[in-house]
Amino acid sequence: MMSLTKIRLFYVTKKQYKYKLMAYSGLFWTLAAVQTIAILLSLGGTGGWNMGRGTILFSIKTLSNEIIVLLTFLWAFAVSVILTTKSYRDGDAVFVSNRLSSNLANGAFLITYCLIGGLSAVLGGAVLRLIFFFSTGGLGIVSQNFFLSPTELAAGFAVTTLYLLLISTAGYLCGILVQCSKVFVVILPSLFFGVLILAGRDAGIREMLLQAINFLVHESSFIMLTLKAILITAVVFGIALLISNRTEVRK
C-alpha cells in the first residue's frame, strides 16, 4: 500500500510564499530602480509659481512625492501582471502546488510588495527632502511640510498601501485574464481607453466614472477607506482566483 504524503493547503501556501520571496527578490531591485528614477524626476519639481518684477524673478518651486507614488503604482501593476505570466506560473508548478495554493501565495506576496512599495514610496518623500536640504544647506526651503511627522508618514504609508493593493489586484486580474486568453491583450486596453473616451463625450458616463473614483478618493475616514479597499481587493482577487482555477499550467 502506498503511503501518500498528506499535505495541508496552508502549509504549501506558506512554503510557496517563502519560496517566492527568495525566488523573486529581483523584483524588489526593479522597485529600487523605478523609485530612484522617480526621485530624480521629482527633483525638477511637480509644480511652481513664478512672478517677474522688473529684473527679478520670484519663484516658488513645489516638490512632492507624487511622481514616486505614481511610478510605484505603475511598478506594482506591472509586477502583478508579471506574476501571472507563464514562466512564473510554471515556476510554481515545478514544486508542489495547485492553483489555489499558487494564487494564495501570490496574494501573500502581493500584499508583501504592496507594503514594501507603500513604505518606500512614502519614505522616498523624506529622501527627496534630504537631497534638497543637503544641496542648499536649507536656504530657501520653506519649513512648512518639510519635517514629515510620524502621523503623516503613517497615514501616507497606510493610504498608499491601500491604493497599491487595489492597483495590484487589478493588475493581477488583468494578467490572469490575458493568460486565460490572449484576446484580452486587445480587449483590456480598449476597454480602459474606451471608457475614458466615452467619459470625455458623455456627461452621464463621466459622472458615473467620477462617482466610482470619488467612492475611494473622497473617502476621508481611514476605517471606511480600509474597508472599501479590502472589500474591492477581495472581490477582484476572488474573481482572479476563480478564473485561474480552471487554467492549465506548464502547457
Binding site: A23, Y24, S25, G26, L27, W29, T30, A32, T46, G47, W49, G54, T55, I56, F58, S59, I60, K61, T62, L63, S64, N65, E66, L70, F77, A78, V81, T85, S87, Y88, L119, V122, L123, G125, A126, V127, L130, F132, F133, G138, L139, I141, V142, S143, Q144, F146, F147, L148, S149, E152, L153, G156, V159, T160, Y163, P189, V217, S220, S221, L225
Partner: protein, 239 residues
C-alpha cells in the same frame, strides 16, 4: 494629484502595458537574473534612515513663514506706498524703508537715464519751492514677502548717480529669488485633510518700490528713459 500629470501617467501606463504584452516573458527572465543584494539593502537602508535624519536637521536653517502681524504690516505698506506717494508724502507710509542720495546740479536742465535698456522702476518727481540746485533722490521699498517667507534680504537695491546733468539709475541685473516648498504627501492628505496639520500657504508676492526725486523748481526735465510722474497730483489739479 495634479491634473497636468495625468496625461503623462496615462502615456507611461500605455507604454508599460504594451511592453509587458510584447516583452513580458523576456523581461521576466531578465529581471530574474539581477541579484544585487547589497544595492537593494543599501537603497532600503537609505529609505529607513531618511526620516530619522530628517528629524535631526536643524529647523532654524529653513525659511519660516512670517507671522500674521508682520504680514499685515508689509501688505499695508505695499498697498499704501503708491497712493500716498502720489500725494507727495511717501515718507509717511509705515514700514517703508529708504535709501537716500543728494546731488548738486550745475545748470538748468536734468536728464534721467537708466543704465539698462528696459527700465522698470517707477520714478516720481516733485519740484521744490527753493532753487538751491540740490537734487534729493529717495528710493522707497517695502519688505519683500514671497509666499509668506521674508526674502527682503535677497532683494537687491537700486543705485543712483549724477554725472553732469544726467541722473543715472542703476537697477540690478536679472536675478532669481527661489523658494523650495514641499507639498504634503497627497496620499496622507486624503485622511488627514489638506489643512489638518498646518496653515495654508499663500502663493503671493508682497513687494513695492519707487524712486522719489525732489528737484529745484527752475530745473528743466529733459526727455528721459523713464516716465517721470509729477507729484503731488493735488498741486497739478489745483493749478
Amino acid at each position: 494629484m495634479s491634473i497636468t500629470f495625468a496625461p503623462l501617467f496615462l502615456l507611461i501606463l500605455i507604454i508599460a502595458l504594451i511592453c509587458l504584452a510584447v516583452y513580458g516573458a523576456k523581461l521576466v527572465i531578465y529581471i530574474g537574473r539581477i541579484k544585487l543584494g547589497w544595492l537593494l539593502t543599501g537603497y532600503f537602508a537609505l529609505l529607513i534612515c531618511s526620516p530619522v535624519v530628517l528629524w535631526l536637521l536643524p529647523p532654524e536653517r529653513l525659511s519660516h513663514p512670517v507671522d500674521a502681524t508682520s504680514l499685515r504690516k508689509a501688505e499695508a505698506a505695499a498697498q499704501n506706498l503708491f497712493p500716498v506717494a502720489l500725494t507727495g508724502r511717501p515718507q509717511s507710509v509705515n514700514g517703508v524703508r529708504t535709501l537716500e542720495w543728494q546731488f548738486r546740479l550745475d545748470g538748468e536742465s536734468l536728464k534721467v537715464e537708466s543704465s539698462r535698456p528696459n527700465p522698470f522702476l517707477n520714478v516720481m518727481v516733485e519740484k521744490t519751492e527753493e532753487n538751491d540746485g540740490i537734487i534729493e533722490a529717495t528710493y522707497f521699498f517695502t519688505g519683500a514677502i514671497l509666499g509668506m517667507i521674508d526674502v527682503s534680504a535677497q532683494v537687491r537695491k537700486v543705485e543712483v548717480t549724477l554725472t553732469e546733468n544726467t541722473l543715472i539709475i542703476t537697477e540690478p541685473e536679472h536675478y532669481k529669488i527661489e523658494l523650495i516648498k514641499f507639498s504634503q504627501d497627497f496620499m496622507a492628505a486624503q485622511i488627514l485633510g489638506e489643512d489638518a496639520v498646518r496653515r495654508p500657504f499663500v502663493f503671493d508676492l508682497i513687494w513695492e518700490q519707487l524712486l522719489y526725486l525732489r528737484i529745484p523748481q527752475g530745473v528743466q526735465l529733459q526727455k528721459s528713459d523713464y516716465y517721470l510722474l509729477s507729484v503731488p497730483l493735488e498741486k497739478e489739479d489745483a493749478r
